[in-house]
Subunit: 139 residues, 4 copies
Amino acid sequence: MKVYETELTVRYAETDQMGIVHHSRYYPWFEVGRTEFFASGGMRYGDMEKRGVMLPLVETSCRYIVPARYEDVVVIRTSVAELSPVKIRFAYDVVRKADGVLLARGGTLLAFTDTNFRPINVKKRVPEVWDYINRLIAE
Amino acid sequence: MKVYETELTVRYAETDQMGIVHHSRYYPWFEVGRTEFFASGGMRYGDMEKRGVMLPLVETSCRYIVPARYEDVVVIRTSVAELSPVKIRFAYDVVRKADGVLLARGGTLLAFTDTNFRPINVKKRVPEVWDYINRLIAE
Amino acid sequence: MKVYETELTVRYAETDQMGIVHHSRYYPWFEVGRTEFFASGGMRYGDMEKRGVMLPLVETSCRYIVPARYEDVVVIRTSVAELSPVKIRFAYDVVRKADGVLLARGGTLLAFTDTNFRPINVKKRVPEVWDYINRLIAE
Amino acid sequence: MKVYETELTVRYAETDQMGIVHHSRYYPWFEVGRTEFFASGGMRYGDMEKRGVMLPLVETSCRYIVPARYEDVVVIRTSVAELSPVKIRFAYDVVRKADGVLLARGGTLLAFTDTNFRPINVKKRVPEVWDYINRLIAE
């Protein structure tokens, strides 16, 4: 199954007074991973939103193993852990590039909805999005 | 001229590894000051957006005098420095509540626009918003 | 067991282009809940840090039920779900004040460490912090 | 004079409910520009902090011309506008990569201080940092 890798350099604004990256800041990194995962086949997440498919978050979680620090280069490894016509679950590994140390592992569950946040069956409602995601995973 | 006071307690997530509040974090505080300024007379900023009036930022600035720190209680003093039918300029003082020390001074210039970010003359287009803001200032 | 309630008004900067609060923004709210929980008995979390007790995050999770929106007043209900001399687990309910609707439920696991992020037994190392937290919970 | 270019892709978490990048989010971008500017000659900003040189912000400002949007690739053009042994002023242009449109212009003034935020004369106190920055600018 496809694993998409995204590189980021830790920003100063992402640190807190403990001198490490604030725990809430890993979630926007996961989102960057998802964004690039979707875009990797040519249909960007923004294009899905324009087709009326929203992907609000239903669950998020993260386990922090080793703190990330300012100026660290980290690699986000994004993969799809579960897919159905009503939801999609992603898994993420955050790895420090310099030495390959695993810093954190996370997961997010997203629902396919319309622009009013009503659940939709994306396979029936917007089959080109459904087919696109299936092709991405199969790569 | 009316000065609206808003109290905030500094959040851990607002600090950075210098051990002080990150400079970018004062701008959302100014926004809280504006939000409460607008709401103080009964029409909330969200109501203006629903009437089609957007207030995108044109300029922002801040001068930092004494660092704010985690758990400090700060008072945001918000006032209107300039108003015309096409724009509104706010001024902000951030004061540490415990001793009245001035921590920072900021300013923001906002344009009245429609939902496509095209400039509007709010006095002509949505006079109830124009009248409302003028009443607020005159208080 | 003690449940500590904190009120917050949703900030504009906490929304995203879906028109709802960004999912990562609930975690700083939980942190505000923890901060006030700790402070409620007189010893602030910042005081613990000055005594050399750090509380880095080990796990975070959140389930999103109904989206929070700009200018909503939300109540964070913070409680301790698990406590040992090496870790503390908090649970959070985010409730919309206007109608009592449950918007989200979260949890965070924190480790007691020294300033180098080495695990400590807080009961042995800094008993006044251990006693303090136990008194808070027993209230 | 050296202009350092940094590329960023706009993150979803950086948007707000207006559907554009929140104005406060340009400041962390400027910081990324500064970080890479400093690092471009081999001494990273984190290294300066370890030598006891802090660079707290004294002033920040930004003028917003065209809104940046989710998934836009933007180029931050960072340059030094003013340098003395006690302070350094940076200027930033944010340009949309696809068409070269100027989205925003900003400036930040930073003071050289010790770890207690007391102003220092960096030329006298930490001459290798002073020399390093001068070499960077002269490139």
